[in-house]
């Protein structure tokens, strides 16, 4: 069974005569299996939207291969397009048409029966406002319309670029159930998001991208297990003993990060190692708790984009795979907000 979505070694460099070149994708790989809800994560400017645009034929890649539903794209795009519903980065619509007209025209162009229009508007909760001009919609309403347009074809593969952008809490939760329902109906969903708690809840698998390259991929649990330094939180009866304990454990060959009232211990196989070592020195443990990292901390660790007090991280400062780990600046000069 071929994967629904396959990307290998995708490369794209934006060229502009005035501002020179910007490498957005640098040998990016991605695989999505059928029926999965797949999260596509990465810091700002890491190349998510570029990947999706390229996949959908809006951008010409400089190299690499892509396949959707087992067919090579962009060559087979006209035939597979019928089975792919997509929104790319808060899509814009012609502002003077109503939501109904907008979708009706898309349905007409794609040969989808007109009754689908009201069905999807109902699904995203816009039925009662369907006759109003898109211009008068709020951000979240436009986002809902975009999702509706992607669902119109009843696609096999649904691609959503930041669908939660602008949605209210209720809308986010609805989106979550919608995505799960669609997936249980056999639809494959790829979506990019920055709300990692969200992703952790609904995704089966994830791909994490940084500076145009894949830094991690696989089922959520696996990515968490492989990459998080799941550690132990150790508290002692007397806080004053903490430095001694840290010293002792370090000498015993485990990795220790001291905190105000506890120690974080990494790289131990069994918690018993810790208790025994401390008990031998007459130090008694009052709390010993395993701490599992969440997707957010794994993401921050993997992409090296965790905030550091007193430093302003620039957008292109994230991890370069194949290069050195840690905060790194791409081959271009890092740029700030204000450029």
């Amino acid at each position: 069974m071929a994967p629904v979505l396959e990307i290998e070694g995708l490369r794209k460099t934006y060229r502009s005569r005035r501002r020179g070149e910007r490498r957005a994708l640098d040998g990016f790989d991605m695989v999505v299996e059928e029926g999965q809800v797949h999260g596509f994560l990465g810091p700002n400017g890491s190349g998510k939207t570029t990947t999706l645009r390229t996949l959908l034929g809006l951008i010409r890649p400089d190299g690499g291969r892509m396949a959707i539903l087992g067919q090579e794209v962009p060559a087979a795009l006209p035939t597979v397009a019928r089975q792919v519903g997509a929104i790319v980065e808060s899509p814009q619509f012609f502002p003077h048409f109503s939501a109904e007209d907008t979708l009706s025209l898309l349905a007409g162009a794609g040969g989808v029966p007109q009754r689908r229009v009201m069905e999807v508007l109902e699904l995203v909760g816009l039925r009662e406002r369907a006759r109003e001009r898109v211009k008068t919609y709020s951000l979240g309403m436009k986002q809902r319309l975009a999702v509706a347009s992607a669902l119109l074809k009843d696609p096999k593969l649904l691609i959503l670029d930041e669908p939660a952008n602008g949605l209210d809490p209720g809308g986010i939760r609805e989106m979550r159930t919608l995505v799960r329902t669609l997936a249980s109906g056999g639809m494959t969903v790829v979506f990019s998001s920055h709300i990692l708690a969200e992703v952790q809840q609904i995704c089966d698998s994830v791909t994490i991208i940084s500076l145009g390259r894949r830094v991690a991929a696989g089922p959520v649990a696996e990515v968490l297990a492989q990459h998080s330094n799941s550690g132990l939180r150790v508290r002692l009866e007397a806080v004053t003993d903490l430095p001694t304990a840290a010293d002792l454990l370090t000498r015993a060959g485990v990795q220790v990060t001291p905190a105000d009232d506890h120690l974080m211990v990494f790289g131990v196989d069994k918690p018993a190692t810790v208790t025994r070592a401390l008990a031998e020195a007459d130090l008694y443990v009052s709390e010993l708790a395993p701490v599992t990292a969440d997707l957010e901390s794994v993401f921050l660790e993997l992409t090296a984009t965790a905030p550091v007090p007193g430093r302003h991280r620039q957008v292109d400062q994230s991890v370069v795979v194949g290069g050195q780990a840690g905060a790194a600046v791409s081959d271009q000069t890092a740029r700030g907000w204000g450029e």
Binding site: L58, Q92, F93, L105, S149
Partner: protein, 337 residues
């Protein structure tokens, strides 16, 4: 096919384009109403009135001349005559009665056979302007609003989408032009019937008008295609409109000024309206009065330069090929972000 029908539907739903077409038709209606009101049928009554008017004017003229001569003679006798009077007061004589031709006092009348052809240029100019703006707005607003990107997600066949849109636009424009031309012809036939004459219409004359209207239709389609192509190339309506306006105003007036300062012989040969006229009227003859070619009779004959409709055709064809070719190339090559 479904794409084509959808694009026609989109075109119809666009309010700006509907108002634009309506506006164009209103301007044309205003012109016909104006023509109707300012023309009159010439009958015995009008001829008699004109003759009375001519007689009256002539009498007034004679009376005035006599008064003037009397003033002259008084002034001469008193010796106070200055420059305002001639040396010899007898030189002051009224003009002959014949020079007051009643023809000149007839109200204007509409001669369908002789004048309808010229009105077709007006019709075409208005329709071509509508076509250009409609073409630019149709595709330009799609580009700038992101609608084009959405559509391409649905139909990832860029060239096909572009040309289907163009086909929908052109068929709608052709429909508008045919209807407008038919109404225009009927309206002016009515003006001829009630406010002038429709005499001497032969089948050859009708054929000639038909061909002129056909050339007008072609020009309307060319204008629509250029607007569409420019807006697609720039991916913005404002760019096409601004570009066209810039070309018209700066290009044409500026060019005319520079060329006449440089003493170029046929300045009009560089101006677009000349080619539009040549296309509609089959030939425009430009005159250059600065060069005299003395004729046998000894009078000054200006140098002439003909611009034929074939020349206009070449100009329009080159413009369409360049703009549409550029738009196609950009559509095929450029990233859509």
């Amino acid at each position: 096919m479904s794409l084509y029908r959808t694009e026609l539907r989109r075109l119809r739903k666009r309010r700006f384009i509907r108002y634009l077409a309506l506006g164009g038709l209103l301007v044309l209606a205003a012109v016909t109403v104006g023509m109707f009101l300012t023309n009159q049928k010439i009958g015995p009554k009008q001829i008699a009135a004109a003759e009375r008017r001519a007689e009256q004017e002539w009498r007034q003229h004679v009376a005035f001349t006599e008064q003037y001569r009397a003033q002259c003679e008084t002034a001469r006798a008193a010796g106070t005559a200055g420059d305002e009077f001639p040396e010899d007061c007898a030189e002051i004589e009224p003009a002959s009665r014949e020079s007051f031709d009643p023809e000149g006092f007839l109200p204007s009348t509409f001669d369908f056979r002789n004048e309808f052809g010229v009105t077709l240029t007006t019709l075409t100019a208005v329709l071509a302007l509508v076509a250009f703006i409609a073409g630019a707005s149709f595709v330009g607003a799609e580009w700038s609003s992101g609608g084009m990107m959405n559509l391409l997600l649905w139909r990832p066949q860029r060239i096909r989408v572009l040309f289907t849109k163009l086909a929908a636009l052109l068929s709608a424009l052709a429909g508008l032009a045919v209807v407008a031309s038919a109404l225009w012809t009927v309206a002016f036939w009515a003006i001829g019937t009630y406010r002038g004459t429709t005499e001497n219409m032969t089948s050859g004359a009708w054929q000639s008008f038909g061909l002129t209207e056909l050339r007008g239709l072609v020009l309307v389609l060319v204008a629509g295609t250029l607007g569409f192509g420019l807006a697609s190339l720039g991916r913005h309506t404002a760019l096409a409109l601004g570009g066209a306006l810039g070309a018209m105003v700066v290009g044409q007036f500026g060019l005319a000024l520079v060329l006449s300062l440089a003493g170029t012989r046929f300045v009009d040969a560089w101006l677009l309206p000349t080619y539009v006229r040549a296309w509609m009227e089959k030939k425009v003859t430009l005159l250059n009065w600065q060069v005299c070619q003395v004729s046998y009779g000894g009078e000054c004959q200006p140098e002439t330069f003909d611009i034929t409709w074939q020349r206009s055709a070449i100009l329009f064809a080159v413009a369409v090929v360049l703009v549409l070719g550029g738009a196609t190339w950009a559509m095929r090559q450029r990233d859509i972000t």
